[in-house]
């Protein structure tokens, strides 16, 4: 497969239109802006927690482009801001989550970044790593069961999460039943402070696919187009009823794990800086400019627009109320019966 090389500036579009390329790029810029906003609000003491996806922008923008809105299902994890934006969540919805407002899909119950939206086909997930993967497989089963071809489930997780038993069980079941399921691993080389080599002896996660009897491949997750091509190919296989695929995107976690983490305890600033050379956001910008898909002015306008949109979403979300204290008691079960009422 010919690939866009972000270093040399060559461009293989894989059928993506100028508009789609611009959309991907805009997603990447928006991710960074919203990440930034979360950290800002945290520093301002307005929210107790933030977690960013810097380094995952290209991977997520590319993967989102392979998702068919209104048809496919996404089972993401907490580092999937860009993926969730890319399948249709709005900055306002992201800010609702950051501020834990009553209108948030989770009603302010979960940490930010734990997006959920039935309308968008985004499955609710908890903080318990890998626990969402059997759900994704079950959803894929439901799709296949009803004979709904042309639909697939895209599930994601980090490199560290592949160590969990539920990762294995999910992969195996999806393979046995040839389900419309794509397992996308976002390999950023870290699990909080634990580097890849302590997580696994063999660092190419995609190679596990053969053991399950499904195709596997790896792609450069710093390249949104290559990402799109790899994920699209896997999704198309799944949608055609040809079964699951394991795709692994390599990327890097530029920030600490979250605002609760200090990554200088386990890696040096220099090591991270070194990897910043590959930062997908400026690299993709340069390629798009070189090929005349955006102009520097376009980019400036985009940034401005994104900042405005983010500001508006921040103000709108912040102005909304928290859930009521008594909302604590809702939605334990359906209907009236709830044990503490008696």
């Amino acid at each position: 497969m010919a690939t866009t090389d972000l270093r040399t500036g060559s461009l293989e579009r894989h059928g993506l239109s100028d508009e789609q390329l611009r959309d991907m790029f805009r997603n990447m810029l928006l991710q960074r802006q919203l990440d930034n906003r979360g950290f800002q609000l945290n520093r301002q003491g307005k929210v107790p927690f933030a977690l960013g996806s810097e380094g995952h922008e290209a991977l997520q923008a590319g993967a989102a482009m392979a998702f068919n809105r209104g048809r496919d299902i996404l089972a993401p994890y907490y580092r999937d801001l860009g993926l969730c934006l890319g399948i249709g969540l709005s900055p306002f919805e992201i800010l609702l989550s950051i501020f834990a407002r009553a209108e948030d899909h989770n009603g302010g119950r979960q940490f930010p970044n734990h997006y959920s939206s039935k309308a968008a086909g985004l499955m609710s997930f908890s903080s318990i790593l890998a626990a969402h993967l059997p759900h994704a497989v079950g959803a894929a089963f439901a799709i296949a069961y009803r004979g709904e071809t042309g639909r697939a489930v895209l599930a994601t997780c980090g490199d560290g999460t592949t160590s969990e038993g539920e990762w294995h069980e999910s992969m195996n079941f999806a393979a046995v039943h040839k389900l419309p399921f794509v397992m996308l691993v976002e390999n950023n080389e870290w699990a909080i402070s634990t580097p890849l080599e302590k997580q696994m002896a063999q660092p190419e996660i995609w190679k596990r696919a053969a053991g399950y009897g499904m195709p596997g491949r790896r792609f450069n997750g710093f390249n949104p187009i290559e990402t799109y091509a790899a994920v699209m190919e896997a999704m198309d296989r799944a949608r055609a009823g040809e079964g699951p695929t394991l795709v692994e995107g390599t990327c890097y976690r530029y920030l600490a794990h979250s605002t609760d983490d200090n990554d200088l305890t386990y890696r040096t600033r220099e090591a991270v800086q070194e990897r910043r050379k590959d930062d997908p956001v400026p690299a993709f910008e340069a390629v798009l400019i070189e090929h005349g898909i955006v102009s520097p002015e376009d980019v400036a306008a985009m940034r401005k627009d994104i900042l405005r949109e983010t500001n508006e979403a921040t103000d709108a979300a912040e102005a909304l109320p928290y859930p009521e204290p008594t909302d604590l008691y809702k939605h334990v079960y359906e209907g009236a019966w709830e044990p503490w009422q008696s």
Binding site: G107, M123, P134, F141, H331
Partner: protein
């Protein structure tokens, strides 16, 4: 309680009642699928789903890999996406690997998504001892789960309740853990109304009315408690026996009403005592009806050891008996 849509009934044992109910659910709703180990060609190790795969096909009766976390987890995903899965854990002892999916996930999906997603899932599993099941095929698990908000737990003892409660569990929009005492599978027979009916989750049933003592039980021990109560009846001592049926939600009203009347409470269960279901029942009464009591609340429960053993004396020592229960009842009545 039971809403009977036909005047006729059939005599069945508990296995047959589970089987008949599952069969109807499969017939009536295309969204229903059964998944678990050996539920297909083998028809489950107790033959509960015998011949189902021939009739409903492998897509609806799924022999899963041996992987309990994903049996439940995949069922959760099915339920979130519109199916009505009935997952089976082959023996209750093997439910532990799926604890995360039950407690961390299924029980919290409605809550954590603020009602946007739901998880209408039934997890069936045979539990309990007295069948020479040794250390790993005898366990009672209800107390490991009854503390979990978001989950419902049912433990019927009679075939008619099995059907009505299993129907209710299948219809329920939330996850239900459905516990079947395996010693009662073939031992306990009874009339089961034909046609579809449900028994509401959370309602206990006074299986024997009485005046001098309230006994609350469920599972195999409920039958033994009834037997013991009959013995006392022959001695002209009137004991009320409540079949708890649902463990969560628990029918506080039924228990309190009975205790207000009899003024004495004995709780009987096979599961270990410390932290068992009896603890909550007792605490509930100590909180709300303390001054109605004429005697300390007693719990007659399994001993606090990890399991009964395979060797017969180790099983017999663990298990209570109708005679022991009758003695406990007599002592309470005399108090």
């Amino acid at each position: 309680m039971a809403v009977v849509s036909s005047a006729n009934s059939t005599v069945m044992n508990n296995v047959e009642a589970v089987r008949a109910t599952l069969y109807e659910a499969m017939k009536n709703d295309e969204r229903t699928v059964i998944l678990g180990e050996d539920v297909g060609a083998r028809g489950n190790v107790f033959l509960i789903t015998k011949d189902f795969v021939a009739e409903f096909g492998e897509r609806r009766v799924i022999d899963t890999p041996i992987a309990e976390a994903s049996i439940v987890g995949i069922a959760v995903g099915m339920a979130m996406e519109g199916l009505r899965p009935i997952a089976e854990i082959q023996f209750a002892d093997f439910i532990y690997p799926s604890f995360n999916q039950i407690v961390g996930e299924a029980a919290k999906i409605r809550y954590r998504s603020n009602g946007e997603y739901t998880c209408p899932l039934v997890i069936r599993t045979p539990y309990g001892g007295g069948v020479r099941g040794a250390l790993s095929h005898s366990v009672s698990i209800e107390a490991l789960f009854y503390h979990v908000p978001g989950l419902k737990i049912v433990a019927p003892s009679f075939p008619d309740d099995v059907k009505g409660l299993l129907n209710a569990a299948i219809d329920d929009p939330d996850p239900v853990l459905f516990l079947e005492h395996k010693k009662t599978y073939r031992l306990i027979k009874g009339e089961v109304p034909d046609g579809h009916y449900t028994i509401p989750l959370g309602k206990a049933n006074v299986r024997k009315a009485g005046t001098r003592l309230t006994v609350v039980s469920y599972g195999l021990y409920l039958h033994w408690a009834l037997e013991a109560a009959e013995r006392l009846q022959e001695e002209d001592v009137s004991v009320e026996v409540i079949d708890l049926r649902s463990i969560r939600p628990m029918d506080k009203t039924a228990i309190l009403n009975s205790v207000e009347k009899t003024r004495k409470l004995l709780i009987v269960h096979e599961d270990n005592k410390f932290g068992g279901i009896g603890a909550e029942i007792s605490a509930m009464v100590a909180e709300e009806a303390l001054f109605s009591l004429d005697a300390p609340i007693r719990r007659l429960c399994g001993p606090d050891v990890p399991s009964m053993g395979y060797a017969l004396p180790l099983e017999e020592e663990f298990m209570s008996s109708p005679a022991e229960m009758a003695d406990a009842m007599r002592a309470m009545v005399k108090f």
